[in-house]
């Protein structure tokens, strides 16, 4: 595998990019018998600038929002050719192309029951176009289109619950993961591709430019999101919460102060309290707290 990696070095991702690491883990876990369909976004741009490609598996990019639909076509063609049983299909994209502009295509793919794993790399804003807010941008985040100012503390709305939207489609497997926990990504991808039908994995992937952290801080930042309860890691199997990563919750302030996108909140206890409530609700909802 090391001599023939499925996602090669030499691509142009930023130093400290969580998405590049997660994408490599996903394809290495899925293996060489995989076709990847990629939405437009950072991953597409930094891995396939003509005449170079980082991909060692068949890979196709069409548009911003249609990877779920293109993958549906790939899967249908493989079925027609009698090759589906020996080929995995992965559709992937960022949070905006998955949960905003591509939500309809994703919903169609899930509802139709295609045997496809959809992977959403969630860096919580439109990073490829310069850090504009998406539906998956967290509450109070400072982005270029949800700037903090005299009359605003950043993004007005909480993060869209795309994994739960996927669960509501009645699909066999939905999971969240984090670039801070690489072995967990590998395990979840392997599990997902062993299941027939539509699967969804959403991976939290820190972005040094958009989140504004030092490039050597990717792992600690990602871990803090999980350890505060702001990014719960869970698995739904056939609609039932089957597993979650339990934590000894840290205060959200530790996570907020690790990144420039939350800097405006640090002297604002009222806003921090609201964010702590979001974490507390997650902890309660998913039973994240390690029992004594």
């Amino acid at each position: 595998m090391e001599n023939n990696p499925l996602f090669k070095s030499g691509h142009t991702a930023c130093a400290g990019c969580g998405q590049a690491i997660a994408a490599r883990l996903v394809i290495e876990a899925a293996g060489a018998n995989t076709i990847v369909v990629n939405n437009t976004g950072c991953l597409e741009v930094f891995s396939t600038k003509y005449p170079e490609t980082a991909w060692g598996v068949p890979w196709i990019h069409s548009l911003f929002e249609n990877s779920a639909a293109v993958a549906s076509g790939v899967e249908a063609a493989l079925k027609y050719l009698g090759k589906k049983d020996v080929t995995n299909v992965i559709a992937q994209g960022g949070d905006g192309s998955t949960g905003d502009i591509g939500l309809q295509a994703l919903s169609g793919m899930l509802e139709r029951g295609h045997d496809i794993l959809y992977v959403c790399y969630d860096n919580e804003a439109y990073m490829n176009t310069g850090v504009q807010r998406s539906g998956l941008t967290p509450f109070d985040t400072n982005t270029s289109t949800s700037p903090a100012g005299a009359k605003s503390s950043g993004n007005l709305r909480p993060k869209k619950a795309v994994p739960e939207i996927c669960v509501a489609h009645g699909i066999p497997y939905v999971a969240t993961a984090s670039a801070g926990f690489p072995m967990d990504i590998t395990r979840k991808v392997k599990k997902a591709i062993s299941i027939k039908g539509p699967k969804y994995i959403q991976i939290h992937v820190p972005c040094p430019l958009g989140w504004r952290y030092e490039t050597n801080q990717m792992l600690p930042v990602a871990k803090l999101a999980v350890d505060t309860g702001l990014y719960p890691l869970f698995e739904y199997e056939n609609g039932i919460l089957a597993a979650r990563k339990q934590i000894t919750p840290k205060p959200v302030e530790e996570y907020l102060k690790s990144q420039g996108r939350f800097k405006h909140l640090l002297n604002n206890p009222e806003e921090i309290k609201k964010i702590q409530e979001i974490a507390d609700n997650n902890i309660k909802k998913y039973g994240l707290k390690v029992e004594a």
Partner: protein, 395 residues
């Protein structure tokens, strides 16, 4: 075998004979009967295609894009708003050089919403890199689907083809149609064998980012292929005639009574049947009139049009679409075909008719011939109702 069939059913029959591996579509009037019939054929086991029922036209086009990239023959059909919703995928399919075949059941576009026929939908996508071939009747619509696959999958071409047929007039019209037998189809249309495809045995990347150093050549290449394909269409017509016993001259234009004509109408699609009737009527009275039918609109057959009309004194171009704020779409091409040339019509007048399904009657065509005088007119609307315009302006 000759059968009396609805246009949509005839299309479903010929698509079945072409054996696409993947069919994907989203329902829109007047395309629905085609895909309903195909779905029934799949349900009955007459057709082994994967039929993917999608949640939108955007996804229908994306599904056939993905399936085509995986190396199988594909089919989709749409109309009007559906085609517009597909638009970015339509351009993408051509840019990726995928041999997708689509039927466009031509229909007006909103607003106001209108489900009836004109050709504004496909004409608005003329710059997308798709071939556009317009049928006059259902026999042609059937035959053009075979041509479409043969052309699209030609290794020298590798571009998508849109077969355009007037909504309701053809899609819902009953005609006697000869559906080619399977063995003849097989003879004319070999199995699709992709040059490049998504295959785990030979991994390639498709749809890469092309920066200013690389993008322009991709457009140039499509432009070049389009122009060269005009010659291929003539060759394909010969082969087609041999296998199926038809009598197509080429698939570019049809000349009807234009040899000694003083007035010629240029038009596209089913309206040409009506025009032929008027031409026959006028010819019987000794009037020298004719028709030049545009069959292939993209690539536009400028040289054939020039040859056909260079000695005709007066030409009327009849568009079933408009380019609001400019000359009508086919009229633009006609004027361009003669600009700076030694020979050509003294008058090229442009008329717009039949928008949103307004009937183009024999009388409408007579009116076009009457208005075709020494005084050139542009985008002159036929069959307008002045009383409606008065009401709108409150005069």
């Amino acid at each position: 075998m000759k059968e009396f069939l609805e246009g949509s059913h005839a299309i479903a029959e010929i698509v079945k004979a072409c054996k696409p591996g993947v069919i994907s579509a989203y329902p829109i009037t007047p395309q629905t009967h085609i895909v309903e019939d195909l779905a029934t054929m799949v349900a009955n086991g007459e057709l082994t295609s994967q039929f993917v029922n999608v949640e939108s036209e955007h996804s229908a086009a994306s599904v056939v894009l993905g399936a085509s990239a995986t190396g199988v023959r594909v089919y989709t059909a749409t109309s009007s708003q559906g085609l517009f919703y597909m638009q970015e995928v339509v351009f993408n399919i051509a840019g990726m050089r995928l041999p997708v075949v689509m039927t466009c059941a031509n229909r007006a576009v909103s607003a106001p919403i209108n489900i009836w026929n004109d050709q504004q939908d496909s004409i608005s996508l003329r710059d997308s890199g798709w071939f556009q071939i317009y049928a006059e009747d259902n026999q042609e619509a059937v035959d053009f689907h075979l041509i479409a696959y043969r052309l699209a999958e030609d290794k020298r071409v590798m571009l998508p083809v849109m077969v355009c047929m007037d909504g309701f007039i053809l899609t819902h019209g009953m005609e006697t149609v000869d559906i080619p037998e399977q063995d003849k189809v097989k003879k004319f249309l070999p199995d699709y064998n992709a040059l490049y495809k998504l295959d785990t045995a030979h991994p390639i990347s498709m749809g890469l980012l092309a920066d200013p150093n690389y993008y322009m050549e991709t457009r140039f290449a499509i432009q070049e292929t389009m122009q060269e394909s005009i010659g291929y269409l003539a060759d394909i017509s010969k082969k087609f005639n041999t296998v199926f016993g038809r009598d197509y001259k080429d698939f570019l234009v049809e000349e009807y009574q234009i040899k000694d004509a003083e007035k010629v109408i240029v038009a596209m699609g089913s309206v040409c049947g009506t025009i032929k009737e008027v031409v026959d009527e006028q010819r019987a009275k000794g009037k020298k009139v004719g028709l030049l039918r545009i069959i292939t609109y993209r690539p536009f057959p400028y040289a054939r049009v020039y040859e056909a009309l260079k000695d005709i004194p007066k030409v009327a171009v009849l568009d079933k679409a408009v380019s609001l704020g400019a000359y009508a779409p086919i009229a633009v091409e006609l004027k361009a075909a003669f600009y700076g040339k030694k020979k050509g019509p003294k008058v090229i007048s442009s008329f717009v008719a039949g928008l949103g399904g307004r009937d183009i009657t024999l009388e409408s065509i007579h009116e076009v011939f009457r208005r075709l005088t020494v005084k050139e007119v542009n985008s002159d609307f036929i069959d307008l109702k002045p009383e409606l315009l008065k009401e709108e302006y409150g005069e």
